[in-house]
């Protein structure tokens, strides 16, 4: 914080409470913050104009702050946030670990996203099946699907320690169906890249 900002806070706030500045998230959704145990009356919680901050009992002075009014230090702190996660879904041909043709572009997009994030990446892979076939076979198939993706990422240079893979069988369907139904939307691998 700059000295000027600190002084401003002192005069405005009597200075016992935290300072809070809310901004919309990267998708533009407004922040939603509730002060549960606000500082003493007269302390400051600073809220950006698009706020939906709700303030409860003891009174809090809410002073709108513009994005442009962020100090360089505050701006730097916001810019230091890691990029948000990406989610990819790959679909498979029935009973196999073969991607359906339309998912190949998704796989390329996944690999590109992982490369862009560099050394600090971590990846969560979960495999799923439809409800056709025996539960035990589906558990194995979902695990195989997840591991094939894991190997692919491994070949692309991602260390195994940065990845987890789990097969969930038919237990987490994307589309609910009766048992025995071969629903293509459920034959999938979901990959979260952080």
């Amino acid at each position: 914080m700059t000295r000027a900002a600190a002084l401003l806070l002192l005069t405005a706030a009597g200075c016992a409470g935290p300072r809070v500045i809310t901004l919309p998230d990267e998708e533009g959704r407004p922040a939603d913050v509730v002060a549960l145990k606000p500082p003493k009356p007269g302390d400051t919680v600073v809220v950006e104009p698009t706020r939906t901050a709700r303030t409860t009992r003891p009174r809090i002075f809410v002073r709108p702050v513009d994005l442009a009014q962020l100090t360089p230090a505050q701006r730097r702190l916001v810019e230091a946030l890691p990029p948000g996660p990406s989610v990819f879904t790959l679909y498979y041909e029935e009973g196999t670990t073969r991607l359906v043709p339309s998912s190949r572009a998704q796989l390329d997009a996944l690999l590109a996203d992982v490369r862009r994030r560099g050394a600090a990446v971590d990846i969560e892979v979960s495999g799923h099946t439809d409800r056709k076939g025996r539960d035990a076979d589906n558990d194995q198939l979902s695990q195989d699907r997840a591991e094939v993706v894991l190997m692919q990422l491994g070949r692309d240079g991602v260390p195994l320690a940065r990845m987890t893979a789990v097969g969930r069988g038919e237990r987490n369907p994307r589309v609910s169906t009766a048992d025995g139904v071969d629903e293509p939307a459920n034959r999938r691998v979901e990959v979260i890249v952080r």
Binding site: M1, G17, L23, P24, P39, L81, G84, A161, R194
Partner: protein
């Protein structure tokens, strides 16, 4: 009796190494580190974090972290942030996240835990607590 002992031992063994990974360090500048019990661990990209860890970014240092519920935090210089509690159920995408800002400033983006309840994600400072539901914010300790 032996069987009972063996069974309880197995439970302990199973519980021992199961300290959940709750987050990973994504970027580090300067002397940022993690205090875990009596241990001091130099922070580096990829370091996994556990509940109870205290994150420290001394003067001229910074650190950023992504949690398994997709919450994200960046610590500015001169900041101490304790990860008091972090319970997360991946299937239901719900849980509790309590952090305490002892000094300095953090920027925060709420993740999935925050959406799972009015007070599921709490950021405490001395004498106050903020329930974070969504959005980005900067919080500076008093």
């Amino acid at each position: 009796m032996r069987a009972f002992l063996a069974a309880s031992l197995m439970v302990v063994v199973a519980a021992g190494p199961a300290r959940a990974e709750i987050a990973r360090v994504k970027s580090v500048e300067g002397q940022a580190h993690v205090l875990r019990g009596a241990e001091r661990i130099a922070a580096s990209p990829g370091l996994t974090l556990e509940p109870g860890d205290r994150l420290v970014a001394p003067r001229a240092s910074r650190m950023s972290v992504t949690f398994v519920d997709n919450s994200r935090v960046a610590l500015g210089p001169g900041t101490q942030l304790a990860l008091t509690r972090f319970d997360y159920d991946r299937r239901s995408q719900s849980g509790r996240f309590d952090a305490t800002l002892r000094r300095g400033s953090v920027s925060v983006v709420a993740g999935l835990i925050a959406r799972s309840g009015e007070q599921a994600m709490l950021l405490r400072t001395r004498g106050s607590a903020l329930a974070i539901r969504s959005g980005r914010l900067i919080v500076s300790a008093p």
